[in-house]
Subunit: 140 residues, 2 copies
DNA sequence: CCCGCTCACTGGAATGATTCCAGATCAGCG
DNA sequence: CGCTGATCTGGAATCATTCCAGTGAGCGGG
């Protein structure tokens, strides 16, 4: 890839006009190590780093960063939501039916393949999302 | 289409090797009127038809019918699951970001467009699912 | 036509992810 | 260095869905 943002968390936060707090930088660090982490994973990582941190602090942080465009939220049906730092490029995901693990998938057909529905039912369509379902290497 | 099954609910159930019960036929009727109904919608319809019906009865029925292939379950992130009777053809959906309403979308590119991911990360990919997000006519 | 073996349904309680609330605390501008 | 509003704490609440144990109803065999 070209660049997976080697920018330190602090810079990212400042650049997005957000305050720099311990919880936020810790959350970004956690997501640098574990791409596609659940809120709970992040909570664990942040606590390991900082000690006592409340559940809400983490949810607030994840929401704030998602709204600011620093994170992308993925919500696979039947599994808790996960967050990733790869934003901007519209890539897709493979989700493991069994454990919920997620892998990145760059769009196979280059650009927006079936992105324009044949009949939009009067909906104002904004985005198309592709999810691949299968089994991860470990669960096979 | 060839046939959207004008078969009565009883036949469908029997054909799938399932017992014919009031709750099940009522649920199928409900989903004939309201395509893309939530479990709660179905519960309401079924109760209007039969009187007292427990929450679990409906969930059980929806699961049984889904497992039997008579229903398809749709789980849009952030909204309760919905069920539909159009199964077999692999069509996709438009989901309203605001109210969760759903519309059918036949695959624009005929067959499996970006169905083969460029890099499957070692996953055994089984299906690809496309979801369009936007605003329904009413919410615009 | 009746019997019994399952599977279906009832009602109530539990789960798990996420959110709401009210108050204490901290980042960083002026 | 003090303010002000954003952030964090802890606990309770919400919502969709599931688990559990007991009662009741389909339907195939006798």
């Amino acid at each position: 890839m070209t660049s997976t943002a080697p920018l330190p968390p602090e810079e990212l936060l400042r650049g997005a006009g957000l305050r720099v707090t311990a919880t936020r930088t810790a959350a970004l660090h956690a997501l640098e190590e574990t791409r596609h982490a659940t809120a709970d994973d992040v909570l664990g990582s942040v606590r390991a780093r900082l000690g006592t941190v409340s559940v809400q602090a983490v949810y607030d942080v994840l929401h704030a960063l998602t709204d600011a465009g620093l994170l992308r939220r993925i919500e696979p049906a039947g599994h808790p939501a996960r967050y990733e730092r790869r934003t901007g490029d519209n890539h897709h995901h493979v989700v493991c039916r069994s454990c919920g693990a997620i892998g990145d998938v760059d769009c196979a057909v280059g650009h927006a393949p079936c992105l324009t529905p044949s009949d939009d039912n009067g909906f104002a369509v904004e985005t198309a999302e592709v999810t691949y379902w299968g089994l991860c290497p470990r669960c096979r």
